[in-house]
Amino acid sequence: MGKMHITTNINGDETEFLCDADESLLDVLRDRLGLTGAKEGCGTGDCGACSVVVDGRAVCSCLMLGAEAQGREIETIEGVAHGEDLHPLQRKFLEHAALQCGICTPGILVTAKNLLERNPDPTETEIRYWLAGNLCRCTGYDKIVRAVQDAAAEMRGA
Protein backbone atom coordinates (compact mmCIF):
# COMPACT_ATOMS: atom_id res chain seq x y z
CA MET A 1 0.00 0.00 0.00
CA GLY A 2 1.52 3.27 -1.09
CA LYS A 3 1.49 6.39 0.98
CA MET A 4 -1.11 9.12 0.68
CA HIS A 5 -0.17 12.53 -0.61
CA ILE A 6 -1.83 15.25 1.41
CA THR A 7 -1.83 19.02 0.90
CA THR A 8 -2.84 21.16 3.81
CA ASN A 9 -2.17 24.49 5.47
CA ILE A 10 -0.32 24.58 8.75
CA ASN A 11 0.13 27.86 10.60
CA GLY A 12 -0.44 29.71 7.33
CA ASP A 13 2.04 27.66 5.34
CA GLU A 14 0.97 25.46 2.45
CA THR A 15 2.32 22.06 3.45
CA GLU A 16 2.54 18.75 1.64
CA PHE A 17 3.30 15.42 3.21
CA LEU A 18 3.12 11.71 2.58
CA CYS A 19 1.56 9.51 5.22
CA ASP A 20 0.17 6.07 5.80
CA ALA A 21 -3.59 5.72 5.69
CA ASP A 22 -3.76 4.83 9.37
CA GLU A 23 -1.32 7.48 10.58
CA SER A 24 -2.66 10.06 13.02
CA LEU A 25 -2.31 13.77 12.39
CA LEU A 26 -0.25 13.91 15.58
CA ASP A 27 2.28 11.42 14.20
CA VAL A 28 2.41 13.36 10.95
CA LEU A 29 3.06 16.64 12.76
CA ARG A 30 5.71 15.21 15.06
CA ASP A 31 7.47 12.59 12.98
CA ARG A 32 7.08 13.84 9.41
CA LEU A 33 6.92 17.61 9.76
CA GLY A 34 9.13 18.17 12.82
CA LEU A 35 6.40 20.04 14.67
CA THR A 36 6.96 18.46 18.07
CA GLY A 37 5.13 21.11 20.08
CA ALA A 38 2.00 18.94 20.16
CA LYS A 39 2.67 16.11 22.61
CA GLU A 40 1.37 12.58 22.90
CA GLY A 41 0.30 12.01 26.48
CA CYS A 42 -2.16 9.19 25.86
CA GLY A 43 -3.02 8.70 22.20
CA THR A 44 -6.69 8.24 23.08
CA GLY A 45 -8.06 11.77 23.39
CA ASP A 46 -8.06 11.76 27.19
CA CYS A 47 -5.26 14.23 27.96
CA GLY A 48 -5.39 16.99 25.34
CA ALA A 49 -1.61 17.42 25.13
CA CYS A 50 -1.83 16.97 21.35
CA SER A 51 -4.45 19.70 20.86
CA VAL A 52 -4.39 21.65 17.59
CA VAL A 53 -7.02 23.78 15.89
CA VAL A 54 -8.49 22.50 12.61
CA ASP A 55 -10.71 24.87 10.63
CA GLY A 56 -11.26 26.94 13.74
CA ARG A 57 -12.10 24.07 16.11
CA ALA A 58 -9.82 22.60 18.77
CA VAL A 59 -9.27 18.88 18.26
CA CYS A 60 -7.02 16.15 19.59
CA SER A 61 -4.58 15.53 16.75
CA CYS A 62 -4.18 11.95 18.01
CA LEU A 63 -7.86 11.34 17.17
CA MET A 64 -7.61 12.55 13.58
CA LEU A 65 -5.98 10.85 10.64
CA GLY A 66 -3.30 12.70 8.75
CA ALA A 67 -5.28 11.91 5.60
CA GLU A 68 -8.23 13.90 6.94
CA ALA A 69 -6.10 17.05 6.88
CA GLN A 70 -6.44 17.39 3.10
CA GLY A 71 -7.39 20.99 2.34
CA ARG A 72 -7.85 21.95 5.98
CA GLU A 73 -6.36 24.83 7.93
CA ILE A 74 -4.40 23.71 10.95
CA GLU A 75 -2.96 25.81 13.75
CA THR A 76 -0.43 24.34 16.16
CA ILE A 77 1.41 25.78 19.16
CA GLU A 78 4.23 26.72 16.79
CA GLY A 79 1.87 29.21 15.16
CA VAL A 80 0.55 30.91 18.29
CA ALA A 81 3.23 33.59 18.67
CA HIS A 82 3.62 36.23 15.98
CA GLY A 83 7.30 36.48 15.24
CA GLU A 84 9.02 37.59 18.40
CA ASP A 85 5.75 38.76 19.95
CA LEU A 86 4.22 36.22 22.25
CA HIS A 87 0.46 35.85 22.31
CA PRO A 88 -1.06 37.41 25.47
CA LEU A 89 -1.85 33.93 26.74
CA GLN A 90 1.77 32.91 26.39
CA ARG A 91 2.91 35.99 28.27
CA LYS A 92 0.34 35.55 31.01
CA PHE A 93 1.26 31.90 31.47
CA LEU A 94 4.82 33.00 32.11
CA GLU A 95 3.86 35.87 34.41
CA HIS A 96 1.49 33.72 36.46
CA ALA A 97 3.84 30.72 36.61
CA ALA A 98 1.00 28.73 35.08
CA LEU A 99 3.29 25.90 34.09
CA GLN A 100 5.57 23.66 36.05
CA CYS A 101 6.84 20.85 33.85
CA GLY A 102 5.34 22.37 30.71
CA ILE A 103 4.30 19.19 28.89
CA CYS A 104 0.61 20.12 28.90
CA THR A 105 1.28 23.79 28.15
CA PRO A 106 1.18 23.71 24.32
CA GLY A 107 -2.15 21.89 24.30
CA ILE A 108 -3.62 24.16 26.94
CA LEU A 109 -2.49 27.33 25.15
CA VAL A 110 -3.92 26.19 21.81
CA THR A 111 -7.22 25.26 23.46
CA ALA A 112 -7.44 28.39 25.59
CA LYS A 113 -6.73 30.60 22.57
CA ASN A 114 -9.58 28.90 20.76
CA LEU A 115 -11.84 29.71 23.74
CA LEU A 116 -10.93 33.37 23.85
CA GLU A 117 -11.54 33.71 20.13
CA ARG A 118 -15.11 32.53 20.72
CA ASN A 119 -15.75 33.96 24.14
CA PRO A 120 -13.65 36.99 25.08
CA ASP A 121 -15.00 37.12 28.63
CA PRO A 122 -15.37 33.58 29.95
CA THR A 123 -16.27 32.90 33.57
CA GLU A 124 -14.02 30.77 35.76
CA THR A 125 -16.46 27.88 35.32
CA GLU A 126 -16.48 28.27 31.53
CA ILE A 127 -12.69 28.24 31.46
CA ARG A 128 -12.53 25.16 33.65
CA TYR A 129 -15.03 23.20 31.55
CA TRP A 130 -13.48 24.32 28.25
CA LEU A 131 -10.10 23.06 29.48
CA ALA A 132 -11.42 19.88 31.12
CA GLY A 133 -9.93 17.81 28.32
CA ASN A 134 -6.45 19.17 28.96
CA LEU A 135 -4.93 17.29 31.85
CA CYS A 136 -2.32 19.01 33.98
CA ARG A 137 -0.78 16.99 36.78
CA CYS A 138 1.52 19.68 38.20
CA THR A 139 -0.39 22.86 38.90
CA GLY A 140 -3.84 22.00 40.23
CA TYR A 141 -5.07 24.33 37.44
CA ASP A 142 -5.33 27.38 39.74
CA LYS A 143 -2.63 29.44 38.07
CA ILE A 144 -3.68 28.25 34.60
CA VAL A 145 -7.22 29.52 35.11
CA ARG A 146 -5.93 32.83 36.49
CA ALA A 147 -3.58 33.25 33.55
CA VAL A 148 -6.40 32.67 31.08
CA GLN A 149 -8.62 35.16 32.94
CA ASP A 150 -5.85 37.74 32.96
CA ALA A 151 -5.05 37.24 29.27
CA ALA A 152 -8.75 37.55 28.42
CA ALA A 153 -8.95 40.81 30.36
CA GLU A 154 -5.91 42.18 28.59
CA MET A 155 -7.23 41.17 25.17
CA ARG A 156 -10.55 42.85 25.93
CA GLY A 157 -8.60 45.96 26.81
CA ALA A 158 -9.98 45.79 30.32
Binding site: M1, M4, D20, A21, D22, S24, G43, T44, G45, D46, G48, S51, V54, R57, A58, V59, C60, C62, L63, M64, L65, A67, E68, Q70, T111, N114, L115, Y129, W130, L131, A132, G133, N134
Partner: protein, 283 residues
Protein backbone atom coordinates in the same frame (compact mmCIF):
# COMPACT_ATOMS: atom_id res chain seq x y z
CA UNK B 1 -5.48 -0.17 5.43
CA UNK B 2 -7.12 1.99 2.77
CA UNK B 3 -8.52 5.44 3.40
CA UNK B 4 -11.28 6.74 1.14
CA UNK B 5 -13.17 10.00 1.30
CA UNK B 6 -16.02 9.67 -1.23
CA UNK B 7 -18.11 12.66 -2.27
CA UNK B 8 -21.52 10.93 -2.34
CA UNK B 9 -23.47 8.66 -0.06
CA UNK B 10 -23.83 6.16 -2.89
CA UNK B 11 -20.09 6.20 -3.33
CA UNK B 12 -19.59 5.54 0.37
CA UNK B 13 -22.08 2.68 0.35
CA UNK B 14 -20.46 1.18 -2.73
CA UNK B 15 -17.03 1.27 -1.09
CA UNK B 16 -18.34 -0.28 2.10
CA UNK B 17 -20.28 -2.96 0.26
CA UNK B 18 -17.40 -3.90 -1.97
CA UNK B 19 -14.90 -4.44 0.83
CA UNK B 20 -14.70 -8.00 2.09
CA UNK B 21 -12.56 -7.17 5.08
CA UNK B 22 -13.17 -5.04 8.15
CA UNK B 23 -14.60 -1.60 7.42
CA UNK B 24 -15.17 1.47 9.53
CA UNK B 25 -17.15 4.58 8.73
CA UNK B 26 -15.24 7.65 9.88
CA UNK B 27 -17.27 10.63 10.99
CA UNK B 28 -15.72 12.30 14.06
CA UNK B 29 -13.39 9.38 14.62
CA UNK B 30 -13.35 9.78 18.37
CA UNK B 31 -14.08 6.09 18.90
CA UNK B 32 -12.61 4.68 15.69
CA UNK B 33 -9.21 6.28 16.31
CA UNK B 34 -9.05 4.87 19.84
CA UNK B 35 -9.84 1.41 18.46
CA UNK B 36 -7.08 1.80 15.85
CA UNK B 37 -4.59 2.95 18.47
CA UNK B 38 -5.27 0.06 20.80
CA UNK B 39 -5.13 -2.47 17.98
CA UNK B 40 -8.62 -3.57 19.01
CA UNK B 41 -9.75 -3.15 15.41
CA UNK B 42 -7.55 -3.41 12.32
CA UNK B 43 -9.77 -2.16 9.50
CA UNK B 44 -8.99 -2.87 5.87
CA UNK B 45 -10.97 0.17 4.80
CA UNK B 46 -11.88 3.44 6.41
CA UNK B 47 -14.53 5.55 4.68
CA UNK B 48 -14.48 9.19 5.70
CA UNK B 49 -17.98 10.57 5.12
CA UNK B 50 -17.14 14.18 5.92
CA UNK B 51 -16.51 15.12 2.27
CA UNK B 52 -20.06 14.18 1.32
CA UNK B 53 -22.19 17.31 0.76
CA UNK B 54 -24.93 17.62 3.38
CA UNK B 55 -23.18 15.69 6.10
CA UNK B 56 -22.60 18.88 8.10
CA UNK B 57 -26.15 20.17 7.53
CA UNK B 58 -28.98 20.52 10.00
CA UNK B 59 -32.22 21.04 8.07
CA UNK B 60 -35.81 21.49 9.15
CA UNK B 61 -38.03 18.71 7.92
CA UNK B 62 -41.72 18.30 8.75
CA UNK B 63 -41.33 20.55 11.77
CA UNK B 64 -38.43 18.45 13.07
CA UNK B 65 -34.72 18.45 12.32
CA UNK B 66 -32.56 16.23 10.17
CA UNK B 67 -29.01 16.23 11.50
CA UNK B 68 -26.24 15.19 9.12
CA UNK B 69 -24.00 12.35 10.24
CA UNK B 70 -20.89 14.53 10.43
CA UNK B 71 -22.45 17.28 12.58
CA UNK B 72 -20.30 17.44 15.70
CA UNK B 73 -21.54 18.23 19.19
CA UNK B 74 -20.40 21.81 19.07
CA UNK B 75 -22.41 22.51 15.88
CA UNK B 76 -25.50 20.85 17.27
CA UNK B 77 -25.21 23.01 20.38
CA UNK B 78 -24.78 26.14 18.28
CA UNK B 79 -28.00 25.44 16.36
CA UNK B 80 -30.70 27.60 17.91
CA UNK B 81 -33.63 25.55 16.59
CA UNK B 82 -32.38 22.17 17.80
CA UNK B 83 -31.27 23.65 21.12
CA UNK B 84 -34.74 25.06 21.68
CA UNK B 85 -36.65 21.95 20.63
CA UNK B 86 -34.36 19.20 21.89
CA UNK B 87 -32.13 20.57 24.68
CA UNK B 88 -31.80 17.09 26.17
CA UNK B 89 -30.41 15.61 22.95
CA UNK B 90 -28.04 18.57 22.67
CA UNK B 91 -26.81 18.09 26.23
CA UNK B 92 -26.53 14.33 25.72
CA UNK B 93 -24.14 14.76 22.82
CA UNK B 94 -22.59 17.81 24.50
CA UNK B 95 -21.55 15.73 27.50
CA UNK B 96 -19.46 13.40 25.37
CA UNK B 97 -15.79 14.08 26.07
CA UNK B 98 -13.93 17.35 26.03
CA UNK B 99 -14.02 20.53 23.97
CA UNK B 100 -11.73 18.75 21.53
CA UNK B 101 -14.02 15.74 21.31
CA UNK B 102 -17.00 18.07 20.83
CA UNK B 103 -15.34 19.43 17.71
CA UNK B 104 -15.64 15.98 16.15
CA UNK B 105 -18.02 13.62 17.93
CA UNK B 106 -21.40 13.03 16.24
CA UNK B 107 -24.82 11.63 17.06
CA UNK B 108 -24.41 8.97 14.41
CA UNK B 109 -21.00 7.93 15.66
CA UNK B 110 -22.17 7.79 19.24
CA UNK B 111 -25.09 5.62 18.11
CA UNK B 112 -23.12 3.28 15.86
CA UNK B 113 -20.28 2.76 18.34
CA UNK B 114 -23.00 0.89 20.24
CA UNK B 115 -21.70 1.52 23.72
CA UNK B 116 -24.41 0.99 26.33
CA UNK B 117 -23.06 4.10 28.03
CA UNK B 118 -23.23 6.45 25.02
CA UNK B 119 -24.56 9.75 26.35
CA UNK B 120 -26.57 10.90 23.38
CA UNK B 121 -28.39 7.61 22.88
CA UNK B 122 -30.81 7.62 25.85
CA UNK B 123 -31.66 11.21 24.95
CA UNK B 124 -32.30 10.24 21.32
CA UNK B 125 -34.38 7.23 22.36
CA UNK B 126 -36.46 9.44 24.65
CA UNK B 127 -36.82 11.84 21.72
CA UNK B 128 -38.12 9.02 19.48
CA UNK B 129 -35.38 9.88 17.01
CA UNK B 130 -34.83 7.82 13.90
CA UNK B 131 -31.64 7.04 12.03
CA UNK B 132 -31.64 7.16 8.24
CA UNK B 133 -29.69 4.13 7.09
CA UNK B 134 -28.25 4.03 3.59
CA UNK B 135 -27.26 0.71 2.11
CA UNK B 136 -26.85 -1.30 -1.04
CA UNK B 137 -30.59 -2.00 -0.99
CA UNK B 138 -31.64 1.59 -0.57
CA UNK B 139 -32.67 3.78 2.33
CA UNK B 140 -34.55 2.90 5.50
CA UNK B 141 -35.48 4.86 8.63
CA UNK B 142 -34.88 2.99 11.87
CA UNK B 143 -35.83 3.95 15.45
CA UNK B 144 -32.52 4.68 17.17
CA UNK B 145 -33.18 2.11 19.90
CA UNK B 146 -33.04 -0.60 17.22
CA UNK B 147 -29.52 0.29 16.05
CA UNK B 148 -27.45 -1.00 18.99
CA UNK B 149 -27.98 -4.70 19.70
CA UNK B 150 -25.17 -5.43 22.17
CA UNK B 151 -22.01 -3.68 23.37
CA UNK B 152 -20.12 -2.82 20.17
CA UNK B 153 -22.69 -4.48 17.91
CA UNK B 154 -25.33 -2.89 15.64
CA UNK B 155 -28.17 -4.05 13.45
CA UNK B 156 -26.57 -2.42 10.41
CA UNK B 157 -25.90 -4.85 7.55
CA UNK B 158 -22.73 -4.96 5.48
CA UNK B 159 -22.46 -1.86 3.35
CA UNK B 160 -24.90 0.14 5.45
CA UNK B 161 -24.18 3.47 7.08
CA UNK B 162 -26.13 6.08 9.01
CA UNK B 163 -26.44 9.26 6.95
CA UNK B 164 -28.52 11.37 9.28
CA UNK B 165 -30.54 11.43 12.49
CA UNK B 166 -34.09 12.78 12.49
CA UNK B 167 -35.42 14.55 15.56
CA UNK B 168 -39.22 14.82 15.25
CA UNK B 169 -41.39 17.91 15.57
CA UNK B 170 -42.38 19.12 19.02
CA UNK B 171 -45.83 20.16 20.20
CA UNK B 172 -46.15 23.16 22.51
CA UNK B 173 -45.15 22.68 26.17
CA UNK B 174 -42.74 19.89 25.37
CA UNK B 175 -39.11 19.48 26.26
CA UNK B 176 -36.46 16.98 27.25
CA UNK B 177 -33.42 16.55 29.46
CA UNK B 178 -30.50 14.18 29.78
CA UNK B 179 -28.49 13.59 32.93
CA UNK B 180 -25.70 11.21 33.59
CA UNK B 181 -23.60 10.25 36.54
CA UNK B 182 -19.82 10.29 36.28
CA UNK B 183 -17.24 10.28 39.07
CA UNK B 184 -15.58 13.46 37.83
CA UNK B 185 -17.24 16.52 36.32
CA UNK B 186 -16.03 15.75 32.78
CA UNK B 187 -14.13 13.23 30.67
CA UNK B 188 -15.70 10.05 32.06
CA UNK B 189 -17.93 7.42 30.54
CA UNK B 190 -21.43 7.49 32.03
CA UNK B 191 -21.93 5.16 34.98
CA UNK B 192 -25.65 5.76 34.57
CA UNK B 193 -27.51 7.97 32.08
CA UNK B 194 -31.16 9.00 31.95
CA UNK B 195 -33.01 10.77 29.14
CA UNK B 196 -36.54 12.05 29.62
CA UNK B 197 -38.80 13.67 27.03
CA UNK B 198 -42.09 15.19 28.23
CA UNK B 199 -45.16 16.89 26.84
CA UNK B 200 -46.82 18.86 29.62
CA UNK B 201 -50.39 19.90 30.22
CA UNK B 202 -49.92 22.59 32.83
CA UNK B 203 -48.13 20.89 35.72
CA UNK B 204 -49.31 17.49 34.60
CA UNK B 205 -47.33 15.22 32.34
CA UNK B 206 -49.32 14.44 29.20
CA UNK B 207 -46.79 12.29 27.38
CA UNK B 208 -43.49 10.85 28.55
CA UNK B 209 -40.64 8.78 27.20
CA UNK B 210 -37.84 7.70 29.54
CA UNK B 211 -34.66 5.95 28.44
CA UNK B 212 -31.70 4.71 30.46
CA UNK B 213 -28.06 4.18 29.56
CA UNK B 214 -25.25 2.11 31.10
CA UNK B 215 -27.62 -0.10 33.06
CA UNK B 216 -28.04 -2.88 30.49
CA UNK B 217 -26.19 -4.20 27.40
CA UNK B 218 -27.82 -1.47 25.32
CA UNK B 219 -29.41 1.86 26.11
CA UNK B 220 -33.09 1.10 26.58
CA UNK B 221 -36.49 2.70 26.49
CA UNK B 222 -38.32 2.20 29.80
CA UNK B 223 -42.07 2.39 29.03
CA UNK B 224 -42.96 1.69 32.69
CA UNK B 225 -41.05 4.78 33.73
CA UNK B 226 -42.84 6.86 31.12
CA UNK B 227 -46.18 5.44 32.25
CA UNK B 228 -45.36 6.34 35.85
CA UNK B 229 -45.24 9.99 34.82
CA UNK B 230 -48.28 10.32 32.58
CA UNK B 231 -51.27 11.99 34.14
CA UNK B 232 -49.36 13.21 37.20
CA UNK B 233 -47.11 16.00 38.24
CA UNK B 234 -43.44 15.02 38.42
CA UNK B 235 -43.59 15.48 42.18
CA UNK B 236 -46.51 13.10 42.47
CA UNK B 237 -44.86 10.60 40.15
CA UNK B 238 -41.45 10.76 41.82
CA UNK B 239 -41.54 7.53 43.81
CA UNK B 240 -43.14 5.48 41.03
CA UNK B 241 -40.73 6.89 38.45
CA UNK B 242 -37.74 6.17 40.66
CA UNK B 243 -38.91 2.62 41.27
CA UNK B 244 -39.73 1.95 37.62
CA UNK B 245 -36.35 3.23 36.46
CA UNK B 246 -34.47 1.19 39.03
CA UNK B 247 -36.54 -1.88 38.20
CA UNK B 248 -35.58 -1.61 34.54
CA UNK B 249 -31.87 -1.93 35.31
CA UNK B 250 -29.88 -5.08 34.72
CA UNK B 251 -26.40 -3.67 35.07
CA UNK B 252 -23.02 -5.23 35.79
CA UNK B 253 -20.31 -4.63 38.35
CA UNK B 254 -17.31 -3.13 36.66
CA UNK B 255 -14.50 -0.64 37.11
CA UNK B 256 -16.97 2.22 36.73
CA UNK B 257 -19.67 1.23 39.16
CA UNK B 258 -21.51 -1.46 41.03
CA UNK B 259 -24.89 -3.06 40.32
CA UNK B 260 -26.33 -1.51 43.48
CA UNK B 261 -25.00 1.93 42.63
CA UNK B 262 -26.24 1.91 39.05
CA UNK B 263 -29.66 0.61 40.02
CA UNK B 264 -30.16 3.21 42.69
CA UNK B 265 -28.73 6.15 40.80
CA UNK B 266 -30.76 5.32 37.67
CA UNK B 267 -33.85 6.11 39.73
CA UNK B 268 -32.31 9.29 41.10
CA UNK B 269 -31.32 10.57 37.67
CA UNK B 270 -34.63 9.67 36.04
CA UNK B 271 -36.37 11.85 38.62
CA UNK B 272 -33.89 14.70 38.26
CA UNK B 273 -34.06 14.61 34.46
CA UNK B 274 -37.87 14.53 34.57
CA UNK B 275 -37.91 17.61 36.81
CA UNK B 276 -35.59 19.46 34.48
CA UNK B 277 -37.55 18.45 31.37
CA UNK B 278 -40.81 19.55 33.00
CA UNK B 279 -39.33 22.88 34.00
CA UNK B 280 -38.11 23.43 30.45
CA UNK B 281 -41.43 22.39 28.94
CA UNK B 282 -43.30 24.83 31.11
CA UNK B 283 -40.62 27.52 30.65
Amino acid sequence: MRFEAPSTVDGAVALLAAEDGVTRVLAGGTDVMVQLKSGMVEPDLIVDIKRIPGMYDIVEENGGFRVGAAVPGVMLGEHAGVSAAWPGVVEGLGLVGSTQIQSRATLGGNLCNASPAADSVPAMIAAAATARVHGPNGVRDVPVEEIGTAPGKTSLARGEMVGSIYLPARPAHASDAYMRFIPRTEMDIAVVGAGVSLVMDGDTVAEARVALGAVAPTARLVPEAGAALVGKTVDAAEEDLRAAASAACSPINDKRGTIEFRTKVAGVLAVRAARLAAERAKG
